[in-house]
Amino acid sequence: MRVISQAFQEISPADFFYRNREIAGFSNPSKAVFSAIRELVENSLDATEPFGILPDIYIRLSSTSNNEVEEGFYSLIVEDNGIGIPGEHIPHAFCQFLFSSKYRLRQSRGTFGLGGTMAILYGQVTTNKPVRVVSSTGDQKIYEFLLMIDIERNRPIILGKKTYNNDEQWHGTIVEISLEGDYPRAKPKIVDYLKQTAIANPYANIMFVDPRGRLYKFERTMSTLPPQPKETLPHPHGVDVETMHRMVRATQCKTLIDFLEKHFHRVGRQTARSFLEFAGFPEDMDPKALKPEEIVRLVQAMRSFNGFLPPDASCLSPLGEEILKAGIVKELEPEFVAVTQRKPSAYSGHPFIVEVGIAYGGKVPVRDDGDITLYRFANKIPLVYDESGDVSWKVIKSIEWRRYGVEPGMPLAVIVHICSTKVPWKTVGKEMIADRPEISHEILYGIREVARKLKLYLSRKEKAKHEKARLSVFAKYLPKIAEFSTKLAGEKNVPDIKGLLRRVRRLEGD
């Protein structure tokens, strides 16, 4: 027997993401510039809307290349009017991985504060330039930091720090990074992303100035913000063994029945009692006395117990039909629009809500392949890559659209928004939502509902067109019948046909 000595090495989270940056969407220069914009814009939205602030977001991407050798280098500035970050937290918030204020059980765009830091890391490794962050919470001071990431140690390196007086009580954050990118290739996706962001956030002002100086402006058309989600307890169906360990360790409760009632979502005294009976644990057992194998058994029993109430959706922040409709009308100016919000549902203990819109005509694009245009959103984030692998696309393709009067090549868009405390991503790239039966069911029924309304509209439109053609036939022929019969009868005056034409119109219910 030989002993093999190996060098074991711990790597920091920063190092891990540095080595695996493609999983966060930074796999190539084109995708990277898209992802950097997306991550920073989402941070800006998360710093405004949940705090009752109407978002004003300004994005500028400029080329920093001076010659052909350096082609493909950019400076990216994203500025918002959000709540800002207290000065002492700025270095960690931006330059340390897995440092976040979003570790809570309520819906938000991001969770781990990973995306923004990833963009900074990517900028640093491609240009070796620091990130500049300016922020204020609206108090007396504005802070400006020049930062880099110590990748091996997952620590911020502060290269410079300035403070300014904030007489105007400005609040918000400005992030400026340098990065390598390929804007010409990324442009269509970036513009799509911003346009779709404007659909999902019609209460936001978004301005984007691209490297060639073109301004893309998405203006706010409503000033109502969606209601904010409440923080929630974990639902028994969604808890795993590790979570249970932590909860048991942290709890003050002395009995299992108290523990269940206090720490779990929608579990009351009665439900807790019948669950414990089902699981075979005594009500007065001290949770801290649970042995590891008993914790596993408890979690398994929770999964298989049918007596829990489904999670409620108060922790979710759907757009609401009004906002969704306003967003669609604003960006697509359709001839017809219908939206619906499905009732909250849950998969594996995670509540979710599906919202669906359908838009026809106007500026709704017609795809070259004649398919329906699909706009996908997850927790208000547009998903612009990997459409064909998404559950919504699968559902759309499964529908017999002709039944709803839809022909290939029509200017028709379907908008699907899924919001959940835990979106079931298919991959770590967060571009595709997995096909959970509960979710695809809600999407299907949502689409059917709006498609039925579309059908009604299309058939009414068709009927109106038909009736117009019909009337024109009568208007063309009746005068001739009158004319020739008058001549044939040897009469002098042509009889009046206005009454007959009116009757044709009345038959049409016009």
């Binding site: 019909r470 036939v473 009568f474 022929y477 009746l478 001739k480 019948i481 009158a482 020739f484 019969s485 008058t486 001549k487 044939l488 009868a489 040897g490 009469e491 009889p495 046909i497 009454g499 007959l500 009757r503 044709v504």
Partner: protein, 361 residues
């Protein structure tokens, strides 16, 4: 010589009056605030019946309604009213037209027809509403046939009105066009009509003075006889009381040329006055091929098929039809009128014609 009182002027007045009444009916409905409706006999095949007493096809009791209030009808109602107006103008001004001509004329009034079939169909509708053939309202076919013999006619068409012509005036015969169709019969010495399928024989008969030797008016059918020719034959039969003998090729197609003159066609079931039920198919019969040892050809498949169809046709009951159909089937041969030339050019006139007329008279 017999003096005849004829009917074409009366008939023209009647046609004009009917057209005007049709217009007044439409006019009245519009004036009273109704969508004008037109009711006419249905010409669908399930409404065509053979009437043994009239000895022709007639339409049954089914009616079709065309209403200007119906999107699917208004176009054809317009076409019909225009058509009535147009042919009224033609008839009133004594101008003639053809089916093709009418189709194009419609465009001048912005009443377009998609095809000539459509306008032909509207003309047929008008025929069935009025009960008159299109020749009565001056729409004539393209095909023309001819007539020759001692019959004096008087033209009624403009510029020729009152002028008379004897139909022996031209050795090629006189074309049966609109002017002749509308002419009045004045006098004749003939005592029969001989109708001939083909132009060659018609000329031979004139050369051989058949009209004098047999006291006959000769009519060239030119294949399936145009309706104006059928109408002329009927007038010769009805107004002058002349028996009519029809000579065709000895084949199913020749037989049917004779039959259409005698009993009419299903297509014209809505019309009267086109048939001559007492006319006789005088030959050439299948039995003549045997009797006169005529050169003949074998029947084609299509001939046999047609014979079978005719055998089932209700008009072909009785003789000579059944007898000759059976004979065709039996000998499986056919021959043309010209086959008699096998025995010399005048054989048909010298031998066959007197024998056959003698048999039939």
């Amino acid at each position: 010589m017999r003096e005849i009182s004829s009917s074409t002027r009366e008939r023209r007045k009647e046609v004009l009056l009917r057209l005007e009444n049709f217009g007044r009916e439409i006019y009245k409905q519009i004036e009273e605030g109704f969508f004008p409706k037109i009711i006419m006999p249905s010409r669908s095949t399930d409404n065509i019946f053979y009437d043994p007493s009239l000895r022709q096809y007639v339409l049954g009791n089914k009616r079709k309604r065309r209403s200007a209030g119906n999107i699917r009808h208004i176009r054809s109602v317009t076409q019909l009213v225009w058509m009535a107006y147009f042919v009224h103008e033609l008839t009133l001004n004594q101008k003639t037209s053809t089916l093709r001509d009418v189709f194009y004329s419609a465009q001048a009034y912005d009443v377009p027809f998609e095809s000539q079939d459509e306008s032909d169909n509207i003309i047929t509708d008008l025929e069935s509403i009025l009960g008159y053939a299109r020749e009565d309202f001056n729409v004539f076919p393209e095909e023309r046939s001819a007539v020759f013999g001692d019959l004096t006619i008087e033209y009624t068409v403009p510029n020729y009105e009152g002028r008379r012509l004897n139909l022996t005036s031209h050795p090629d015969g006189v074309m049966i066009g609109p002017a002749l169709t509308s002419a009045e019969f004045i006098e004749t010495s003939a005592d029969k009509v001989i109708a001939i399928e083909k132009g060659g024989l018609f000329t031979r008969f004139i050369e051989e003075r058949v009209h004098e030797r047999f006291n006959a008016i000769l009519v060239l059918l030119g294949g399936q006889a145009p309706r104006s020719t059928r109408y002329l034959i009927r007038r010769l039969n009805h107004e002058l009381g002349l028996p009519v003998y029809i000579f065709t090729d000895a084949d199913p197609w020749g037989m049917h040329i004779a039959m259409v003159i005698i009993s009419g066609s299903a297509n014209a079931a809505h019309l009267r006055d086109l048939t001559t039920p007492d006319a006789k198919w005088a030959g050439v019969w299948a039995s003549d091929i045997v009797k006169y040892k005529l050169p003949s050809e074998k029947l084609d498949d299509i001939d046999v098929k047609r014979l079978n169809e005719l055998a089932r046709d209700t008009r072909y009951k009785g003789d000579p039809w059944q007898r000759e159909l059976n004979m065709f089937m039996k000998i499986q041969r056919k021959c043309e009128l010209e086959a008699f030339s096998r025995y010399g050019l005048t054989h048909i006139v010298d031998k066959y014609l007197p024998e056959r007329l003698g048999e039939l008279e």
